[in-house]
Every structure is written in C-alpha cells, then in structure tokens.
Symmetry: C3
Subunit: 259 residues, 3 copies
C-alpha cells in the first residue's frame, strides 16, 4: 500500500479494513503514506524503488489521486511478477514498466467494488476491493476491458554534453540526501569513477566533491557523492542533511563534470 493520506486520518485503515473483509488471509505491507500530497511523481519513484524487492505475486495498491471521481480511469496492471491497482495518472507505470507490463485493464466491473462507491475515495471503494478480489483468485480480465492508452509519468533522462552530465533531482529523502536521475551507467560512460573528484553545479552552488563508496568515507558533516542503493548518483553530507545545506528540491537541475 502506498498513498499520500498521511497517518492521522481514517482513510488508510479503511482501505485495510476493506481488503481484510474481502480477503481475510491478505498480508498487508505499508510502503509509505507520507508521499507529498498530490505528488504523483514522488509516489511513482517510491513505488518503483520498492517493487523489485517484493515477493512474486504481490498486489500493489497505490493512491495519489487528485483526479478522483472525474473521468480518469481506475487501472489494474499485470506485470511479469506483480499486480498494481490505482488511478490512471502515471503513478503505477514507472514501477509497472520496469517490471514488464503484460496486460492493463480499466476497472469497470462494479461487482468487484464496494456496494456504494463515493466520488472522493476510490482507494477504499474501488482499488482496494479490486486488489482483495484479485488475491482471492478472481481472474484479472474479469475486472474490465483491456486498454493501452494509459498515462505514463514523465521523468527527465540525463543528457550528456561536452564533458558533463546534465540531470535533475529525482527525490530528496528523509535524511536530506539528494538523489539525482544520473545512473551508475551514465557515470561509467562519462568515466566518473569512485575516488575521482567531481564538479557539481546546482542553483548557485559550485562544489567540488569526491565520489565515494559510502557515507563513512567522508569526514562527519562533510559533503560527498556516491552511487546510492538503487544505482543513482546521490549528493549527501555524512551524518548531516545535504538538502537543508544546499536548499535543493526535486526537479532542480544538476550539472556534473570531471575536475
């Protein structure tokens, strides 16, 4: 389960209650309910990070849904190892495309929804019941027609210019680590290897930073870069908070070059 519902309200436990009523044997695992409100991109990033580690057969229910109750469709996506239910706004598709999409269905069959469907809470009334019925053995094609014109989230790819990589900030984590969209492979093609010093330009900051293997390779409170545990270039402060120091947000541009 992933959402932007926060942790104080009844919304997420209502989803869990709806699932367990339909499928009492369901094993429920929270991914995060602290996705920034309406931030589909952040939700897609977090879901795609966790999905590869999930057991085969996992049904992911994701709800960051500013268009609830409008014309946007409800989706059920089947990939090689997993299922996804949620709104058709790109939220599911970063993870699903990485996992290899087999079928995508629009959920329209009211037999697999709660008896009364509100116009503001499809997480409880549509997505969660679909997931629970799927876990109970209902075949994916029973939920509605197959479609192919679903929304896909737009995430910038880094570009390579003479002598430098131009990327952007993908996510700022709870430690303040600044995660970019520059992958280990991008770095390797640009000959930026662990041990080298990189020149980094972001906003008004011009930094020279060592590309390290881990946080503890830098002195406490000093700045470093490393390849993070998902394979992306990350700017961090050992035992400190890089985001607070450099005031960088998701979406900001980052230039990296060899020194």
């Amino acid at each position: 389960l992933l959402s932007d519902f926060g942790l104080k309200d009844p919304y997420m436990p209502e989803i869990k209650a709806a699932i367990l009523t339909i499928c009492p044997e369901a094993r429920i695992v929270d991914i995060s309910h602290s996705i920034e409100k309406f931030n589909v991109r952040m939700g897609a990033f977090v879901l795609a990070s966790v999905a590869p580690y999930s057991p085969a057969g996992t049904v992911h229910v994701a709800v960051v849904d500013p268009g609830v109750g409008t014309e946007r469709r409800a989706l059920l996506v089947q990939t090689k190892r997993a299922f996804y239910t949620g709104p058709d706004n790109g939220l599911l598709m970063l993870a699903a495309q990485k996992g290899g999409i087999i079928h995508t269905y629009a959920i329209t069959n009211s037999e697999f929804m709660l008896p009364t469907v509100s116009s503001t809470f499809h997480g409880r009334d549509v997505f969660a019941p679909a997931a629970a019925h799927l876990l109970s053995g209902v075949s994916p094609k029973q939920f509605g027609p197959e479609i192919s014109d679903f929304e896909v989230p737009r995430f910038a790819k880094p570009t390579r210019q003479t002598g430098r990589l131009v990327g952007e900030v993908l996510h700022v984590d709870d430690f303040g680590n600044i995660i970019t969209n520059i992958s280990e492979e991008d770095l390797s093609k640009a000959r930026m290897k662990t041990g080298k010093t990189l020149a980094v330009d972001m906003k008004n900051e011009h930094l020279k930073v060592n590309l390290c293997r881990t946080y503890g390779d830098a002195a406490p409170k000093s700045v470093l870069m490393l390849v993070d545990s998902h394979g992306f270039l990350e700017l961090a402060v050992n035992q400190g908070n890089a985001s607070r120091r450099f005031r960088v947000n998701a979406g900001d541009t980052v230039h990296v070059s060899l020194t």
Copy 2:
C-alpha cells in the same frame, strides 16, 4: 489499534508485543497513532469512521487516556459485529453505539491483565491483554461485571434555523479538508443539492461556494464543498489546503445557507 502515542516511542510496539505474546495468531492493523494528544473526541471520530469497514469479529483497542491510573474504568464493549477495549471516557462509544452495543463490561479480572499493572500504561497492561485473551477465545463476561453507566462523548448535532444550517467542524484531515457534522441527510432536508451555490460563514469568512460531487469538479486551488466519503459536508480546496487558508479548527461553528 488506535492511540495518541505517536510513532517514535516504544509504547505502541509494547502493546503489539503484549498482544502477540498472548495470542500469536492475532492479525494486527493500525488505525492511527497520530491522534492529537489527549483529544478523545478526535480519537472517537476516527475510530467510528473505520469501524463499519472492519471485518466481523474485529477487536478494536483504543488508547487516548488522560485519566489512566485514576478511578476511570477499563471497558470491554461487545457490539453486533465487533469488540472494543479502552478507557471509559467516551473514546469507544461513538463507534460502539453506531455498531449497536450488546454488552459493556468493566475489566476487573486481573487474570487477563499483565502480571504487573503500571499506573500509567493500561494500554499495554490492561486493554491489549484483554483484547488478546478475547481473540484467544475467553468469553467477554469473564473480564468483569456488566455496567451501563459508561461515559458517552458529546458531539454537537447540527441545528436548522430559518433558511440555514448551523453545524460545527468535526475534524480537519491531513489534506486540510474541513469536515463538518452536517450530514447528507441534513443537506437534503434543507434542499441543498449538488450543483447549487452555498453561502458559508465561519469565523470572519463569508464565502460563496459550489456544492460539488468531487474535488476535480473545481479548478485547481479553488474552494469547493462536497459530501465526503463518510457522508458529511466538507469544505475543501482542490489540490490545496482549506484549513491553512481559512484557519479553521475542530469545534468551530459553521453556518450554511442557500444563496
């Protein structure tokens, strides 16, 4: 499980550990542990919202308990579909009354408490063990004497005056949506239907707002009203935060009339 314990301290996991020690097969689901400290009314509202969606036979353990260790009693309530354990301060009763109370017991039998009962943490020492023993098959009447003079929470009912409804704010959710105690039925009796424009007075605010079906019916960042997923009139900002814009809190008075 519902509480005002927050998420950083050992209190809630101690409750879970106590339950699983007594009843290893228990399925534990968190409702919320971010209820405002000592806010019995908010706890009662959140519990009553989730309870109708819970599977039959659920045992709810709720702890918002400023009177712990004083003369206030510990309760076990049996309704048509569920059980509730918690303090006798009204916290359980909004949900339990909606669910149809069959029996209410004062928990006094120390056989079903932890061996040492602290004076400050009955969640772990009294309510959780009672719930776990109940799940393990102990009969409700074994926990203590039946009582009928329990506390009930006082929630204002909206009143209808010439041409307008006078209600109050029941809850402000994590999105900043302002949920009132005015129900779909109240609106319908006052002929306030989706599509109409309502005049809303709260504090120093005088607003004219459309009664919509869902958030996306209003332009992004503009104000709307709708009937929320629990059947209550809600003031919201599409993809924004109404509570921050209007500085309204739970308990504030709201006047609504047709324009």
Copy 3:
C-alpha cells in the same frame, strides 16, 4: 523492526519486501522508524524498552547505522529469548545484555545476504536477509564467526551524593515526558517515596514537584513526577508537554533531592 529511516522513503518497505521474499510466513511488527537520525543511543533505549514484552523467538532487526559500508561489522546476537541483527555500534546491546547474551556472531556468510550488497544499505542487503533466513530455520552459527569484542553503548548510571541523586535525561517521549535514568530502586534507596515532594534541578530550573502515582493525580497542566511504565523516574505535565515547558533534552543532567 526499528530504524531511523522515517516513513516517507522506500527504505523500510524494501527491508520488509526482502524479508517476505525469503520467509513468506514472517510476521512483521514495526517498533519505530522515527528514531532521531544517527541517534544510536535513542534507538538502543527504544529497542530495550520493547524487547522484554516481545514473544519468545522474536528476531529484532535494528538499523541506525552511520557507519554503513565502513569497517564496522554486521552482528547477529542470540539471547535467551530472542535474536538481534544490526550494526556493531552498540544499538543492539542494551536490549541484548538485558536479555542475557548467549552468542554473538559477525555476519560474513554472503550466502545469507542479497545477491548484490550495496555499500549504503545493509539493512536491506544484510540484516534483513539474515533475520529472514534465521526465521526460516538456518542455524545462527552458519552466519559467520563468533565474536566477543562488540561495541557496547555507554549510558550513564545515576550517582548518589549526600542527600541527592544525580542522573541524566534518557529520553524525551512524544508527549514531552522527560524520562531520566533514575530507577525505582534508586528512588527507594534514597527514601523518595510516592507522596513526597522532591526538589529537582535541571539547567536553570529549580522545581519542587510531588512524586505521584499517575498523571491524573496532578491538576491538569501542572507538573508532577512519577515512576514510568518502565520503572524510571519521569518528569511530566498532566495533559501538557514538560519538555516544551522546561526545554530539556536527552543527555541533560538532573539533580533530585528530598525537600
């Protein structure tokens, strides 16, 4: 599971996903993921508070790990009733020593790690898989060599001086209650009994406070002391926040004497 990962990022659900992939029957219970970043001492305190209430055979996975990827070892500790996996920085040892350590192993056998071990996220790649394999029946000694030179956390013991106890603040909980390292036994030896008035010196505060049995023994918003649910002397404000009123933090010195 205990960590300083917070609740918005993919890190903790990746740990859960890794566990359930290896051991689908694992029952996962969160202790806290809101430990202050890099605060090993707070993590050790919270883990040690919960551990005694956990069912026999529990495997605790704890990750507050500023030294990840450096020379610090990964540990598997076996106590009389439980197992612990986590970094060798003292985090596990307050709980483990209380529980009676039988064996401590350095986790070195890559057979029980994820296929690719990152240098920044051993929670997912080393500690969680070890816990899951342990739950699946792998013998503790298969994980690596037994060791005895592990790190232990340093927590001050209170001292007794003429007529007073000198302790320190162990933890400030989410209610703002100030928990000291002065135990019920220390109080009893110093003849400080419930009902007496104590003189308390912290920072620039000189207070006279009643030693009560529970919060409700003091008037709302007034200051009290009591023995908390783990047996430590605590300074609190009934239905208020003592930490905010007195601006005291973990580590601060507290002097207590009879009046």
